[in-house]
Symmetry: C2
């Protein structure tokens, strides 16, 4: 096999922008990863400028990791899958961005996750990370479920779980709800109790709430009734999402995101049994998308 | 009775600052109302500058209503009860304000509501408006319940009810939750359906969510199961708050706020039966407080 020198190849950058962090990987046309960078939150619903900054940071770090000069930025063909751009006004705002790449093809984080998970156009994918959602693409028809963002949607997600946990802790501190070990773990984490927790949560974002999710799943595994009730409600929602996705006959279905491994054991068994491992990370799906779009 | 000319009297201004609006009334020492003004939201948790602006606007409008010159502002002794200042950092921020009054005595909206409702120091009061909370003051001991703010607390409030309603409408639109007439009423109000609702709710505050509460109580009264479940959960919380307040033996207990008349029929009957009407509005409680403090 004769390898083309890098300078003559078309280079791609796959961008996976979620509510907590943004990952970007620079790849060759044959999907060899040259370098990866991580930036901050990139869901424009929670801050358009921050999303742009996080994408740029992740791309700059990926260039450094790849040992490529900064000027290479302008030669990259970007595929970007961002949380939040299922909302039309946010799609428009991010599309209008004077981005630093040669070209940028924008879609949802769900779409690139699906393309990556199955390494083909058709499939279904659920995300259980800071946010939650479901997506299937079958016979040229796509189905979006959830992904409505914090606090109005995203049941079963880390942010939703964290908000439920804080609500339960405050009810406990007022003696208006059952005692829960979450009061200990979250008070210790925040170094605050009772009404001082309110103070600490002032201006908190979804990514801040999502930090409590690990305490919830740990407490549920340890038998805490309040935590079990939260995790069961979240897992029941994800099971319902899975059921609707599976009905579209996607062939393959995956669940990804930081919370996924902890949620699966609480999901309906028949749906958990339908899950297949994701084949590639979403950044590969993003490059898959960029290649597809740039060759149209 | 010989009346003193206004110019020689001490004038007070009672300020009741909530999450949706701020009411201010200028009163004589013997509680004759000279004028009233209404400003915007005044819960510093949702914006310190806005709270200050709303208080100033309400005071200016009260002066105009009273037919007093603008310069009278600097002679007023203010009693201000604000939502949110149960959070220590917000109490400090608002206390440090270079306010336009001669003096300002700051306390919580709960405290002035309680003083006004019972026209004496001891009693218990619950608020069910944009936010929710409970307060009792008995034997020099005060008990605060709830009032933790949106979205981590304030169960049973208008904002909480509105958030529950939007979540239910989005579950309905994804066919992941039961059908509800809230989908029709809220979609009509917002002129949006499904994911476009997410767009409309972008950056929504507690006062925006609280606008949906009327649809929830109306739908509950009409027999909608989803709405009934929301209202029952909210009323059960307020009943539990009432039960803890009543245990402090406050003698009198009231519930005030825009949602109160619609919640009472859903509360536990024994607690609903313990409720007495509020005697005076919170602004009178604020002046009661200012007189008490300025004569110490």
């Amino acid at each position: 096999m004769v390898k083309m020198p890098l300078g003559e190849q078309t280079l791609y950058i796959g961008i996976d922008g979620g509510g907590t962090k943004c990952r970007a990987s620079i790849m060759t046309e044959d999907l060899q990863v040259l370098g990866t960078g991580v930036g901050g939150p990139a869901n424009p619903f929670h801050g358009v400028q921050q999303a742009k900054d996080s994408i740029r940071t992740a791309a700059e770090l990926a260039l450094i990791d790849a040992g490529l000069p900064p000027a290479t930025m302008g030669q990259l063909i970007a595929g970007a899958g961002l949380a939040g751009v299922n909302v039309p006004s946010l799609y428009d705002v991010m599309s209008d961005w004077q981005h630093p790449f040669k070209q940028m093809f924008l879609t949802t984080d769900l779409h690139i996750a699906c393309l990556g998970a199955h390494n083909r156009d058709e499939g279904a994918v659920m995300i259980a990370g800071t946010g939650s959602c479901g997506y299937s693409y079958v016979n040229n028809a796509s189905l979006f479920l959830g992904g409505h963002g914090f606090p109005i949607g995203d049941k079963g997600s880390g942010a939703w779980m964290g908000l439920e946990a804080i609500q339960a802790v405050l009810l406990d501190s007022d003696n208006l709800g059952p005692a829960t070990m979450l009061s200990h773990s979250i008070s210790h984490f925040l170094q605050a109790e009772g009404v001082m927790i309110v103070d600490k949560m002032f201006g908190a974002k979804s990514s801040d709430y999502a930090k409590f999710a690990i305490f919830v799943v740990d407490a549920a595994d340890a038998g805490d009734e309040v935590a079990i009730s939260i995790v069961k409600e979240g897992a029941a929602y994800m099971s319902a999402v899975a059921r609707r996705l599976w009905a579209t006959q996607p062939g393959r279905m995956s669940i990804i995101g930081g919370l996924a491994p902890r949620l699966i054991p609480w999901m309906d068994k028949d749906m958990a049994d339908n899950l297949s491992p994701a084949l590639y990370q979403p950044e590969f799906g993003a490059v898959y998308f960029a290649k597809q779009q740039s060759k149209r």
